[in-house]
Symmetry: C2
Subunit: 108 residues, 2 copies
């Protein structure tokens, strides 16, 4: 991983579910995220939940799911946004979340 | 990267500088982040700025710097928090930022 390219576009999405303690909602969301992360242009995917790190003022442990994707380029991220599989993911699962934040980063 | 481990702890920090347009502040912060990312326990580091992706309600392009680190374990992240080089980074540069958010994620 030390040799991983630094010129990727990091697309990091945090989801807050309406019912973060509902087993049904969690199962649907996890399955959907796993399927979503198979889209071809995704170079690397990390699907996660809040880690049990120390509670500090600056650390936000309140989200339900983290989806972190690496793309080779802005163009690949753009095409992912309109990929039919991605649109279907949003369509079928957006009722599950009450809030989403996305941060896109590239090397300066 | 497709083969990268999924069991890493992803530590993602977003910084909002007081003076995001100040060349001096930016130079100091970028140099400091580059030095910070050499700490031994860091498995992978991505240092970034907001990507020029589409403006959408859910995308936050307002931060100044992104620091994303992979650790092999919670223990490595914990030791990083108290690493003297990390403490020195905070001490010497915290006057530059007005806001920080940290998200720590692990595979569910």
């Amino acid at each position: 991983m030390k040799n991983a390219p630094s010129d990727v576009l990091v697309h990091h999405v945090y989801f807050w579910l309406h019912e973060p303690d509902s087993p049904d909602a969690r199962e649907q969301m996890q399955r959907a995220l796993e399927e979503l992360s198979t889209i071809e242009t995704i170079r690397y995917a990390h699907l996660g939940v809040p880690a049990a790190t120390e509670s500090r003022d600056v650390v936000d442990h309140s989200y339900t799911y983290s989806l972190m994707l690496f793309f080779d380029s802005k163009e690949d991220q753009d095409s992912y946004q309109i990929d039919s599989q991605h649109l279907q993911f949003v369509e079928e699962n957006q009722h599950l979340w009450e809030r989403v934040i996305v941060y896109d980063s590239v090397k300066w």
